[in-house]
Amino acid sequence: MLTATILVPLIGAVALGSARGVSERAARAGAVTIAAVPLALLIAAWSRFDPGSGRLFQLVEAAPWIPTLGVAYRVGVDGVALVIATASALLFTVSAAYPADTRDRPRHYYAWLLFLEAVSLGVFLALDLLLFYVFFDLSLVGMYFLIGEWGHGDAKRSALKFFLFTLAGSLTMLLGILGLALATEPLTFDMATLIRHQPLAGEGLRSSLVLLGLLFGLGVKTPVVPLHTWLPPAHVDAPGPASAILAGVLLKMGTYGMIRIPFAMMRATFAQWALVLAVIGVISAVYGALVALGQSNLKRRIAYTSVNHMGYVVLAIAAAGGVLAGDEPGRELAITGATTQMVAHGLVTGALFLVAGSFWQRTQDYDIDAYGGLARPAPALTGVTTVAAFASLGLPGLAQFVAEFQIFVGTFSVYPALAAVALLGVLITAALFLQLLQKIFLGDLPARWADFPDLHRSEAVTLGVLVALIVAIGVYPRWLLDAIAGSSRILIGGGS
């Protein structure tokens, strides 16, 4: 079943890419349909997933690949992976449905999108380190072509920078992965085994280097300050749906990887370095928020809030792994919160970037100061953006509050001072989003935007789905949290 979630979009991508004479409409309809299949499969997987079973990985499917090197095709889920994968599948479906300017190459556009979906889901479902890396790297290729071909502005340069920067990260991570796997005897890349055996435990310098390699690689992708500079240009120049996926799915690979690999497989070493990571997380959170407030470009501002929000995730992960024993409830909360934040941030920021994409399609202008009073001509757009903005600043009743509350409460158990400093980010985020709303939607309406078109039907429907989920998680998150919490407990307890 999980294999199918990867294969269906992959086959779809190949089919769509090689088909002839497909109209824009048909390509989009086909892409949405194919993109929705993994979503359906993952929902089905969710129903079969038993969070209370005490086993970390479930629904495992495996096949030999390169047994000589201990590499196998292994997929499966724990609660963390399951919810992130499902959210990603949803985001892909929504992004495919969101109208985009495909520049007369609809087949290729949607084929790359589906390819990206396949490999992104692969990252979250892989239970083999090398398989994980394979998908991790391929996601860069897919995104490179999406930004380079369908981006705007200085898209080629941004795509190049994105690819170079993140490849540097992923290769460093590869070195870490190798360093970790080579410590096993016999050689294996099986995640479950590595979690069970904790290779490199207590091997001073070597394990520290491996950990730093892993964290560097994953930190680039997350991104944490100061490894974040690829993010703003990539976001600004990417088409709206690609931005949504970049923020909603690709960034998660970094933090998901942190939970999956260094956190779970190198618990002792991780605990040694957790404080450093936590400080970096706090810096990312506060710095990202401050820089976001200083931006007058809509997409850059949203992009930097991603740095802020992912900073919380990093902080929570560091806190959860900061000690080897003690404070279990708080650390569980931190991990659950980190995961929830990944899901929530994906939905919220995805929605915000789709909105930004709508702006580009209408006006080709991202300058916040150029707008004003758009609430009059575009009330629906205003409403959706307001909900998303409030979700992003962590208003209760919307998804991200649940996550951030857990993160702060959980982190406080281990690093109270850092949690307190990180809270400032919440305040700055509030300021920057209110200012954003005020400058774009409220106040005087410049004459040139008098007939600014409101959301089209397809935009409204897709954003509506996201908003509905944001509210659903915010109001009653139990269905989500319970799926995660079982795995958090096991991860904190160190079992497999």
Binding site: T68, L167, L178
Partner: protein
Amino acid sequence: MPVGHLVPEIVLVAGAVTTLLAVLAVPRRLQWIGAPLALATLATSAWFAVDLASDAAQQITFFGTWAIDGATTWARGVVLLATAVVVVMSPEWFARDPRHGEYYPLLVLSALGATLVAGAADTMQLVIGVLLSSVTGYTLAGYHRRSALSVEAAMKYFLVGALANTLLTLGVVLLFGMVGSTLYEATAAGLAGRATDPIAAVAAAAAVGVGLAFKLGAVPAHAWLPDIAQGAPAPSAALLTVVPKVGGLVALARFVQLLPVEQVGWRPWAALVAAATMTLGNLAALWQDDLRRLLGWSSVSQSGYAIMAVVALGRSDLAVPALLYFLLAYVLANLAAFAVVTELRGRTALDAYAGLARRRPLLAAVLVVSFLSLVGIPPLAGFAGKLALFGAVIEGGYAWLAGVAVANTVVSLFYYLRVLGPLYFEVRREPVPVLGRWAGTAAGVTAVAVVAVGVVAEPAFDALSDVLLLPH
């Protein structure tokens, strides 16, 4: 005298001679006959090589001068495969040259030279193999006798080669002076004993090392490679950027294992050469506006990666598999790229590749696969190769070298994307004429092989898991 252990090579000699005689006999319209004959020769040799690998144990044979271990077998296979691809690319390219018949026997002899280098277990044999590989190489490089660039490339190839071979010979003579024999086994034993001292050993190893660096296109004897890639006939460039390397690398790996580490610090030296080679190659490739020259420099950098495996020899079980697998991956990807260049009639200005994806989507796809494999993007062959290399050096205690390689890989991505970006993102309307059917087929086949070898890597790694690199 176990002549059977040499059947693949004997077949090559016989085939080369037969082909030579045939092309001398047939009229100019039929000069292409050399291609099928050469192919048949290569195929027969390969068949015997496989046969031999399954029949004979891995051993040093022929009075200690010839190693028929897994490494030799693998090198034979890769060399024959690469040569066959080049043979397929050639007839259309040389269609205008009435005397291109001799080209095919030279290709076969070049393959023989590389094989002899790879299998040599005797320093004299090594020198002769290098020499054969070199002289055929000079000729292949200069085969466009009327093309200024072709003869220039050949001349520089020769000049660097002659100096390097002289140094190699000097090193071999010094080694002989120390141990009184040219056999590898005797050399290793002699050097390990206390009879010798580090000074002469270092001098000899340095001379041999620089000599072999020429075959690899490694620093400091790398300068010929970009010129060959740019100036030599495209099929020759395809051959010379890959085939001599296969032999040279196996030979280097074989040779360094003879040296006692406590007297000759070959491991750090190899690491240094690897780092310098990959860095120089990548840096110099960055701003090339000529695709073939870019490929040449990239080829230099790929040698640097390959030498990483040499560093880890004896310290990691992965070293030999990594070396041999990476060679295969590199050879396939590089051949695919040159096959595309050939099919595009030698089109080489970077700008002329912009918008190719819409005019020639399949060739563009081959180029993408080839370049991404050279970068090491999974699941292409280059990825598994680099993975094994990184694993080997990390296990061998040279993690910093892996770090250097990572940085270099990122840099290399830049120039590959300088080609691939415009290839896909720009729109051009000019027609893009191609050469014919065969070079395109070669491009397609090698690209598919790059994917297949990467995805289905297990057979290769399984086969390589018990490969020996005699006499160690």
